[in-house]
Amino acid sequence: MYKIKREDLPALFQKIAADQELYLPVSTAGQTNFGVWREEAEVDLDTLKTVKSPKDVFFPQSETLYTCYREGKKLSVEPETLKEQDFVVFGMKACDIKGVEVLDRVFLSDPIDTFYAARRDHGTIVALACHEPEETCFCKVFGVDAAHPAADVAAWMVEDTLYWKPETEKGQKLTEKLADFLEKAEDAGSETAVAEEEEKIRSIMEELPYSHLSLEGWNGDVLMEKFESPLWEELYKPCLACGTCTFVCPTCQCYDIKDYDTGQGVQRYRCWDSCMYSDFTMMAHGNNRTSQKERFRQRFMHKLVYFPANNDGMYSCVGCGRCVEKCPASLNIVKVVKAFQEKEGAKA
């Protein structure tokens, strides 16, 4: 394990960013999101949750796939180059890393998404343990350990010291590169400090209101039963059909592919899509889901039933709680799970 004083972090960031991109939580006009480190960037390591999850580091909200040009009577196609440089993401949280695990299932299984794969290959993740978990967090429900994130490097901020523990080969490589900045911390005091911080985080996790949410009855085998439940009819009513929940979510992975006529050529791009939108998965014949109830149901069925059915029981929710915080109508996945629980409880 290594350590570095908090006040020396800017120098560390500068060193990392000297020859590669460094993504970390940056505050812009009062809101914190992951962004590229620059000398003048307002780095914010105190905000627990960025508004958007850091998934866009690996899966950007919009990215060009290729561009077509016309020269006289000829058409030429210029493919977009894949990410070729290494980069570092600093400050991801345990839930966000679990989110990347979910995305891996989608994009790294056959057929492999080469854009995503290239970014995964070149990215090194330095994760930060959650110093003060919040009431909207429920990652514990999905078996995430907020006290010890599973990344290339795990880090803990204890008072004014950042403890740094490389856990993979990539993490080791990055650590070696930063040897001048990181101080060895093999002493018992450092070990205790981290162990105490972990203990503190875990005990708070126990106290959080959502931590003991039960997902009993939600798995890949209950498709029809849940699909046909009359509860959806009630639950969807306040939904405004905006895409906030999908766009702040660390696991939502649906995208749309569109063309943009630039006047010089046509850019084919993909961008995040939301199952809450009326043109989601629009086909020539029209749309599969024509009512908001169906769209609303799709989101939760996908997270809790369809995804586990196809991925060995893995849910595609990680309990980050961003949708809980941001939904304009105060709806969220926890309320949905609880509503089903109450109804099923009444049945028994």
Partner: protein, 148 residues
């Protein structure tokens, strides 16, 4: 910017002209052999109030450096009152563009009748000069549309 580069700048200007007055005014300018800059691209619309604010923003997005809307003089609208509505809309839109920091003068409304070929030609000369002095529109352009 060097003097040479400035001389090279050819503004792209979109002129929305109403079918009944201003387009005929442009015609008259042509048939009277009055000159106006070839940088002005005219789009004929049925009435000045047909000009949706989106048209204007879209033009800027795709690389226009200035947009001018020409219609019948107030009181002379072929549809009685279209230009009065357009006047309010454009005033508010221009004010919003000013509010978000777009240089004043990139947009303009001018009333040109079918008999005013001279005014049409003069207005276009003036507008081209104005846009040339303002330079390239960078604040409202979509970078994807930029010629590389």
């Amino acid at each position: 910017m060097s003097i040479e580069a400035r001389e090279e700048f050819k503004p792209k200007i979109v002129a929305f002209c109403c079918n009944w007055c201003s387009y005929a005014g442009a015609d008259l300018a042509g048939s009277s052999r009055l000159s106006y800059s070839a940088d002005v691209k005219i789009i004929r619309v049925p009435c000045s109030c047909r000009v949706n604010p989106m048209f204007i923003l879209r033009a800027f997005e795709r690389g226009a450096d200035g947009v001018i809307i020409c219609g019948c003089h107030p009181g002379d609208c072929h549809y009685t009152s279209g230009n009065y509505y357009a006047r309010r809309r454009m005033t508010l839109l221009f004010s919003m563009l000013d509010f978000i920091g777009v240089e004043n003068g990139r947009t303009r409304v001018e009333w040109v009748s079918a008999a005013e070929g001279v005014k049409f030609s003069q207005t276009m000369h003036e507008f081209v000069d104005k846009i040339t002095s303002l330079g390239k529109n960078v604040r409202l352009e979509d970078l994807r549309c930029r010629k590389s």
